[in-house]
Symmetry: C2
Amino acid sequence: MELDIMEIKEQLTTLLEGRRYNDVRQMLSDMNVVDIAALLEEMTDEQVPVLYRLLPKEPAAEVFSYMESDTQESLLRSFTDRELAAVLDRLYLDDVVVMLEEMPANVVKRLLRLVSPEDRRSLNQILQYPEESAGSVLTTEFVDLKATMTVAEAFDNIRRTGPDKETIYTRYVTDANRRLEGVITVKELLLARADQQVGELMETHVISAVTTDDQESVARLFVKYDFTALPVVDKENRLVGIITVDDVVDILQQETTEDMEILAAITPTDKSYLKTGVWATFCKRIPWLLLLMVSATFTGWIITSFEKALAASVMLTAFIPMLMDTGGNSGSQASVTITRSLALGDIAFRDTLRVIWKEIRVAVLCGVVLAVANFLKILLIDRLLMGSPVTLLEAAVVCITLVITVLCAKLVGCTLPLLAQKIGFDPAVMAGPFITTIVDAISLLVYFRVATGVLSL
Amino acid sequence: MELDIMEIKEQLTTLLEGRRYNDVRQMLSDMNVVDIAALLEEMTDEQVPVLYRLLPKEPAAEVFSYMESDTQESLLRSFTDRELAAVLDRLYLDDVVVMLEEMPANVVKRLLRLVSPEDRRSLNQILQYPEESAGSVLTTEFVDLKATMTVAEAFDNIRRTGPDKETIYTRYVTDANRRLEGVITVKELLLARADQQVGELMETHVISAVTTDDQESVARLFVKYDFTALPVVDKENRLVGIITVDDVVDILQQETTEDMEILAAITPTDKSYLKTGVWATFCKRIPWLLLLMVSATFTGWIITSFEKALAASVMLTAFIPMLMDTGGNSGSQASVTITRSLALGDIAFRDTLRVIWKEIRVAVLCGVVLAVANFLKILLIDRLLMGSPVTLLEAAVVCITLVITVLCAKLVGCTLPLLAQKIGFDPAVMAGPFITTIVDAISLLVYFRVATGVLSL
């Protein structure tokens, strides 16, 4: 069912060149607003305003809300004040907020001048909440019901206020001071008698978020309770706004991408890969590479300090990459599992001892199996098949090191993210690049200690 | 707003021991069903059936659907057939499917015997769809409208059929052969006149999934179009069922966890960390560790074959970890970015050339900066501060290797996931563990070639 944007682009370009605007209008009217927005991204800066003006007013605003911010900006600049005011009037407030956050100051100023005074107050309020807080993603476009309304009155209220509101199916009930009292769904209203009161039908145990809550923890509430909307209150339990599930899906995707980028030693970004320039990509990657290169210096020093041992047994060097990689892999298995479990809320800091005890047992199992497999490999492949001069004692050193390294790697891998979370750091930073560097150093130290001891070098 | 489950557990245990069942009932009635389900996980096998029977019927089934499958199973075994039939009757079909997939055969048989013949047909149909397909996550509990209905008739229909249906707000319109004709929301119905026809109000450009579509691509449709429900049709465009956004949120979380686990060289699992046993965790991790250990053997052979060069210049060994790590980090920066962008649908195989061209430029920038930084570090810290005997020529070898390694790593890192996707492999497998092994081998080969060339060893 996915459309071939490139094909449509060509057809539209031909139609536009032939000034066949009615055909263009017809083509666009058959498309979903999200697809139209994606299409506009592919058109030239001259074509976009022409196409946009050919859209009917209602979908036009929705299309606008799905466009990338640079296309929005260039389109905004081509608008007259009247056109701009019309678009702003039809956009949902939370989409306007997302847009304002991306625009340069002069555009923001022009936009704020053109919205209604009431919207301006709401926008200024939302823009003041900290980034990635519940307040920054809420919408104030909701209508609250009163407990004393009848079902029939509630429906009148919904019919009167519905068209402009993003979600109408979950309605919150507030008292005279706008304090949150209950929640009721349109489904419950539809199934009730017209003369019943909202107060007797509503659910009074309402789960809500506070404006200062982190957006990720809010998203986790949606995942846990299968909500489609969540009320956001201030410190006095007054209803400030609502968060809708479509925004939560975006938040979850964004937070996961962030976690993955951090795991891969990249500074997170909001922009998609192809929209990010070479220089911006370079800037997101180089600090980590530099930092990790410098921290790898320590492993270099460890090797230098065991120079004599290495010179006495060159075979030892051949196993360094294998030991480092196996340690790194063991460590990141543990650290990524723990980081993800923390993000999903499956474990918390209080589980630290259970986690450590489990990782110790898994590590011993893994270490022993790897050591045995490695010993057999050295015996059968390296010595018999390849005729390598590696001695049985050297093989024993490598295998003992494997067991200890895997154990240390798993322990470091599971405790660092938990500690990071505890002291308010992002566990992903710990789970990713740093584990490798730490485990490298540990595995080399263990290796050379065991080697000098067993082989008496 | 989160509850302290452990505290409630203690209170409940005391109440149960004192047989104060009314107080228990009161406590439970104040709690959200999801929290009750989480609470039951913490209670003993004897307490669970007692508590469950104290719940009112309506929330009881919902609580059941949120329980972990092993708790569900032990609870099921304590049910009489009549109790079980009552629960099944109240569960949504898609939740029954999820449950059946986790249960042993004898339990499944008993369950299928107790559901209505109509539900049994639906269940058997859903269970036949391939795992992780759109068909396997849909629910058949929806009611379709007809285009000839008036708004008033549509509301009668919704009121009559609503209570048992998971979502009532998005309604699909079908023709006499159950072919999908349009979609209409309760919001649109509420805002229309009672005598208008559904056919004139409905949206006829319906985006739908086919039963055999992959669940991840279906989830991506929800993300892209901000749906709350999506119709699923068979090959003849007949409406088979619907997928709701709450399931999509779970699918997204599950698919992301899978990707992360694969990136960290772990066989993915559905179970949460603390629910997975030591042996199961070991089994998910050891195959990858073994495979990667064996593949690291190649790097060992590369080192062995340059034994002479290493013996001539022991300093060379000290830089091996740094070169391997920097190569690995550079590669995984590219591979994780590309893998995630593929998962989000930001890039596709047709973008390969654009991706490669971009990564080449980023790689050259990164490589040069790292080389310069490293040269300065060797000069100032290693030689001046630490009195290391490393020569300028050796430093040059390391820096030239850095530039080439970073370039190769980024190229391998960006092309492998794209190739994997093209030939139907999971890009995450390529992005994760394998990149490190491949880049290790490349960096060592480059290092020794450059070293033997420049230093004429």
